[in-house]
């Protein structure tokens, strides 16, 4: 099940591809330092890919490069074979701190993407309602984000990204700020939503249990500069069980290759 990062699965239908990507940041105090080094990733269509790594090791930077918020310092990031140069509607992001628009209702937030693309009101309302129902928020259409709990806000964030019908969904530690119970619940919900409407997902987390629970494939990341250290295919049937012996074995195995840092 374990493979070296060098031997990537060679499939031609890579939706997103990182080719020898380096990323440097310039900080006034620390000077130039490398956050991502020689990163090679191929993301297949409709797979649930989890990027798992400890601490602050540039996981978000990887997603930001797919989203087009940041550019690689060397190498290239491709979407359907074309280099990514700017943010675009085919790559939807769910942020760590939800990033909902506080001045819009749940409906206003979810229909935002189609609205910007000029979809007619009736059509986009219908579509937004579909995704609001999918994430289980019916009845909250006219609530403002401030009235919602953290878990509910994250559901809106997921519905908003889904409603724009992106090719790939980028989730940056979306459940990081939730309490443990809500987190378990949201992992179930995300699995359910993803199975109901398959999309390519790149999910970043520093939680090993979450990684094994959600992923089709896990890339274990090395600490700064970030690169792929190991790769695991997770073939456990869904819904998964946190106490299943195979689940626990995988968890231990992955844990043993992680760079533990303080």
């Amino acid at each position: 099940m374990r493979m070296d990062s060098e031997r990537q699965v060679s499939t031609n239908d890579a939706l997103i591809e990182f080719r020898k990507v380096d990323k440097f940041f310039n900080k006034p105090e620390e000077g130039r330092y490398q956050v991502v080094g020689d990163l090679n990733i191929k993301v297949r269509e409709n797979e649930f890919l989890v990027l798992f790594g400890p601490g602050q090791c540039g996981k978000s930077t990887i997603l930001n490069m797919v989203a087009g918020f940041e550019m690689p310092s060397a190498g290239e990031v491709l979407c359907q074979g074309k280099p990514i140069e700017a943010p675009g509607p085919e790559r939807g992001m769910v942020f760590q701190n939800t990033a909902l628009f506080p001045w819009l209702t749940v409906m206003g937030n979810v229909e935002y993407g189609p609205k910007v693309r000029g979809v007619k009101k009736e059509e986009r309302r219908q579509k937004a309602q579909h995704y609001i129902d999918l994430v289980g928020l019916q009845g909250f259409e006219n609530s403002f984000p401030v009235k919602l709990s953290g878990g509910m806000q994250q559901r809106v964030g997921i519905a908003r990204a889904y409603c724009n019908e992106p090719l790939v969904m980028l989730l940056d530690e979306p459940f990081g700020h939730l309490d443990a119970q809500t987190r378990y619940l949201m992992q179930d919900e995300l699995t359910r939503i993803w199975q109901a409407e398959k999309r390519t997902v790149i999910f970043v987390t520093n939680n090993i249990e979450e990684a094994v629970y959600l992923a089709d494939r896990i890339l274990v990341l090395r600490n700064c500069p970030t690169g792929v250290k190991a790769e695991y295919e997770i073939t456990l049937p869904r819904p998964r069980n946190y106490t299943d012996p195979e689940f626990l074995r995988l968890r231990r195995e992955i844990d043993s290759v992680v760079d533990h840092t303080l």
């Binding site: 942020f95 506080p102 403002f144």
Partner: protein
């Protein structure tokens, strides 16, 4: 829960009224009550109240009733204020959004904003006389400064992540400004409107002291000349109450327009 909140608000209103009453009582005590101040040094609340009632129909000593003065002042203040908003808010927004505009306008603006509004009075009087226009222009300048500063920082405080969300949805630069930056800056823009109202109103009275033939500031100035302190105080109280009412209207408008519990 709601009842408790209502009780809290009622309690607050009660305490406010009580403290105002206490202030008036102390005022009465040092004048009529104990006679510490004589009525030509500090008129008593009773005397001021009498003058307040009389001033609604009497034109002595300054040639106009209280209502005429009030309307004259409001016209000038609101005139300058509205022009200040119409020019100041968009100016602040575009300065914050566009670096080139910022670089062009900023140096001039930074110089202008350090000048107290009243200081413009003499210049304006020389330019356009002591009529409506000179005062309206002075108020326009002092109101505009607050509106530019607040809308500017409101736009600058737009969260990057909100702009990112807009970009992933394919929003154009104009849509990012109108659909994300401006709605998120709205609380700050309303703060600007409120602050500007305060400075418009205070500047007005100061401007009227210097250059006017009608208005609350003019009324105070005339009364002061003939030692009618009761009318001076009437003027001060009317200024205070009108200012408070206008500010309440702006805040109410803000609560209506700012969505999502951000006030």
């Amino acid at each position: 829960m709601k009842d408790k909140k209502k009780f809290q608000i009622n309690k607050y209103i009660f305490i406010s009224i009580l403290s105002i009453c206490f202030g008036i009582f102390v005022w009465w005590l040092v004048t009529d009550g104990l006679g510490i101040f004589r009525s030509n040094a500090l008129p008593s609340p009773v005397k001021v109240f009498e003058s307040f009632i009389k001033k609604w129909y009497e034109t002595k000593p300054d040639g106009a009733t209280l209502l005429e003065h009030l309307i004259a002042s409001l016209q000038v203040a609101l005139g300058g204020y509205v022009i200040g908003a119409v020019i100041g808010i968009p100016l602040g927004i575009f300065m914050a959004w566009n670096d080139k505009i910022d670089m062009c306008v900023r140096p001039v603006f930074d110089l202008v904003r350090t000048i107290p509004g009243v200081a413009w009075t003499s210049v304006m009087v020389t330019l356009v006389g002591i009529g409506f226009l000179s005062k309206a222009l002075v108020i326009f300048i002092s109101a505009m400064v607050a509106m530019v500063i607040n809308s500017y920082s409101g736009i600058k405080q737009t969260k990057t992540v909100h702009l990112w969300v807009g970009q992933t949805f394919g929003a154009s630069n104009w849509e990012l400004l109108t659909k994300i930056a401006i709605p998120s800056a709205l609380p700050m823009i309303f703060t600007g409107l409120d602050v500007a109202l305060g400075s418009a109103w205070t500047t007005l009275v100061a401007a009227e002291l210097l250059a006017s033939t009608k208005g609350l500031g003019f009324m105070i100035q005339q009364a002061r000349g003939i030692f009618r302190l009761d009318i001076v105080i009437v003027g001060m109280i009317v200024i205070a109450i009108t200012g408070a009412v206008l500010s309440t209207i702006i805040q109410w408008l803000g609560r209506k327009m700012i969505k999502g519990g951000r006030t």
